[in-house]
Amino acid sequence: MSDEQTETAERVDAPAGGTVTQRLEAVLMIADEPLSVVSLATAVGAPVPAVRQAIETLVADYDGAAGGPVRGFELREVGGGWRFYVREQFDDLVADFVGGQAPARLSQAALETLAVIAYKQPVTRSQVASIRAVNVDSVVRTLLARGLITELYADPETGAVNYGTTDLLLQQLGINSLDGLPPISPLLDDGADGFDELTA
């Protein structure tokens, strides 16, 4: 990192007590969930663009992109916010250290249901069921219990609950927003129109 340049740029925006990057490092060090740029800006008392720029600087800095050492940790944007992570290269090392049990895996049925909900949200249970051609009640219950999906709202006419995915799912997928989902077959868009009435 080119220290002179960054610090000068930051000092302008930081009202008092250190640079924006330093203040960001301090807050991120005690965060236990991803923090959005807006809440970071509030926390460090700097405008959003300055925070955004400082985050960029930090990411590059930790990645060794500015001439310094590559850090054993990195800053990642996941599930709508920024958070310190162990650098991927060292995940195995750390896993040995923390031990812990392997988390339960989702079944194929749950994964497919999750995919349908992720791409089709807001979507009702019966719409999901008609796409998968099976009853999905118990799978939906599992996904709800795991906090991967949530009830968005009830249809005012039918009362059917519409489901969507949560930030927790984004975190567990390691993506920042639904835009991070891979594009699904273009065929879908053509076919989808005719389905609404049938799956309603």
Binding site: D32, F84, A133, V134, N135, R141, I184, L187
Partner: protein, 291 residues
């Protein structure tokens, strides 16, 4: 509605689809022996169809579907009555579409385009579209699996606050009594209930299947034989008609009555056949519908 399990394997007209499926599916399938479907591996008819299609390394085309239809129907026949009824009925819907398509393929072409064949074309296109859609989501689920697994191995910083910062957290506001706390515990320990979709807004009064069954029993025992039409004569609430029909099915399950129906959708004649009926049996009748 789905046929009752008892109806699926006898000659009553209650399960027309299953009846039709038999001769058509059996036609040229037996003795092939090349392909075996292991029961229970498939999560839904689309899954099975895709598996069958991929076994033959076919793309999803009309040819693919016509080649796998027989295997699909054969699989369906192997679905024993112990299989999940929901699942079986979902398979039936797809099977019916496939069968229609097969029948249409066997018929001479160039006939008049009537309403039925138009409907058939639509059904076929729909099935294709839904298969393609399902395949797309199935592929997407592979990405989900890989991402979840990869992210599982990642380690985010999540450590408790150090003591001096802990002290700065706002003082706890506690409002629960010990009784409320206990109630919360009960809630936490209770098996998680399925999210319930309220039907109250439909303003439909609840109808008891047991009550309706009691009426059916009384009427049938006094008359010995009557049609379902007579049984619901004078009833103007659709819910009561449905409940009375469910009661009839339940009584059939208990072998208390028998059916006669000379043609599909024809008059349904009910006969009281039970010799050791006791009204105590009413108490457990329709327990499947209790929620």
């Amino acid at each position: 509605m789905a046929p009752s399990p008892d109806a699926a394997h006898d000659e009553t007209p209650l399960a027309p689809r299953a009846e039709e499926a038999d001769p058509a599916g059996a036609a040229e399938q037996d003795g092939g022996g090349g392909f075996r479907v292991s029961l229970g591996n498939f999560d839904g008819p689309f899954d099975l169809l895709l598996t069958l299609i991929s076994k033959h390394e076919l793309d999803i085309t009309e040819i693919a579907l016509s080649r796998v239809t027989d295997e699909f129907i054969a699989y369906l026949r192997d679905l024993g009555p112990e299989e999940d009824l929901d699942q079986a009925s979902e398979f039936l819907v797809v099977a019916a579409t496939l069968l229609d398509m097969k029948v249409a393929g066997l018929l001479p072409q160039g006939e008049l385009v009537d309403a039925e064949s138009v409907a058939l074309l639509e059904a076929r296109d729909l099935l294709f579209a839904r298969l393609l859609q399902y395949r797309a989501f199935k592929e997407a689920s592979g990405w989900f699996r890989a991402r979840l697994q990869a992210e599982d191995g990642r380690h985010a910083r999540a450590v408790p606050l150090e003591e001096k910062h802990r002290a700065k957290t706002p003082e706890l506001i506690w409002t629960l009594t010990k009784e409320e706390f206990a109630a919360l515990a009960m809630l936490a320990f209770a098996p998680k209930a399925l999210p319930h979709v309220g039907l109250d807004h439909l303003h439909a009064p609840l109808v008891s299947i047991r009550e309706q069954a009691a009426i059916v029993v009384t009427q049938l025992r006094s008359r010995e034989k009557m049609s379902f039409r007579e049984l619901v004569a004078g009833v103007d609430q659709i819910g009561v008609v449905v409940a009375r029909f469910l009661a009839v099915l339940e009584l059939y399950r208990h072998a208390a009555i028998s059916f006669e129906q000379l043609e599909p959708l024809g008059e349904l004649t009910l006969t009281w056949t039970s010799e050791q009926w006791s009204d105590e049996m009413l108490a457990s009748l329709g327990a499947d519908y209790d929620r």
